[in-house]
Assembly symmetry: C2
């Protein structure tokens, strides 16, 4: 059994999702939570709060791997700096515990769970619900996104079927495309 | 005596400068150092390394306040994400020790130490050398910048002379302008 922590970093809402992966693609929900901080608090208080929350999750669930959404500077400029700061805190905390970290692009995550690299929030949420056998879509979207990142990490380990790619399902095709895109040069390793 | 830690955040080079402030504007150098990480290392290793370095500095010098360069999303897109991640780590670590944090814009810092909000690296370095009575300009630029941020924080506490602003020196004029600019709405608190 492998325990995977998915993190959707953000200053106002920080999503964390923990899943367990058994043989093959069998995965199940362990925990999902969204930590919030107020835009009225100062930045060091907000980051300090998220730092304690992430440490609590690492302590409680001892994940074997942490998967994190990769942050791009081109994204929403209003929120990207806070998102990068939270991701920095998460990466440093995971490293301090010797836990390997994997970065996933949004399109990799969408392709992995929905079969389509440009899927909307609702599609991602519905697929997370179906894959984990939940009664409803995890709310808010940050909760579903954190679980989607963890699911992507779980499935990546299995690898893609080799050989005749003309036999790919649409999901596998989208996945291959997202993987290829993720290998192209980018702003940050 | 107040101990001030100035931090110039960056992934490849992280500058830290520690100064002591006595009565009035009397300040002296305590320590300056630049921590580096290799672009070939993965991001969690780089942030983990900087996290340990910052913790070491906080432990060794017990600053009363941490001053940090404010990061803007509009700046160099190639480096801004890493800079934001390092600043996030520094902010969370300072908060965990209950140390107040102050964010300073680059133009505030330049105006404080050189009297001109658009001063170049060399001017900042020369003024840092003169203010602290050093034999040479601290190298690399990240070292001088970290000290300039700490000096700005030291002088901010003294406040500006009230009243007849027509009697302002060019340095005070630039400082007032930078302060006013810093109060305008911005991307991040």
């Amino acid at each position: 059994m492998t325990t995977i922590l998915g993190i959707d970093p953000g200053l106002t809402r920080l999503g964390v999702g923990v899943i367990k992966q058994g043989a093959g693609r069998t995965i199940s929900l362990v925990h999902v939570e969204v930590f919030t901080t107020s835009p009225d608090s100062d930045i060091s208080e907000r980051l300090g709060s998220h730092s304690r929350s992430i440490e609590g999750i690492l302590e409680r669930f001892s994940p074997d791997v942490v998967a994190l959404e990769r942050v791009f500077a081109q994204h929403n400029l209003r929120t990207v700096m806070g998102t990068a700061q939270v991701s920095g805190v998460a990466l440093a905390l995971a490293h301090a515990r010797g836990i390997p970290v994997s970065l996933r692009t949004p399109s990799e995550v969408k392709a992995a769970v929905t079969g389509y690299g440009r899927a909307g929030k609702n599609q991602v949420g519905s697929m997370v619900q179906a894959i984990l056998g939940l009664d409803s879509i995890p709310q808010p979207a940050d909760a579903a996104d954190a679980l989607a990142i963890a699911i992507t990490e779980a499935w990546r380990g299995v690898g893609l079927p080799k050989g005749n790619s003309s036999a790919d399902t649409p999901a596998l095709k989208a996945w291959r495309e997202a993987e290829a895109a993720a290998k192209r040069p980018r702003l940050q390793k």
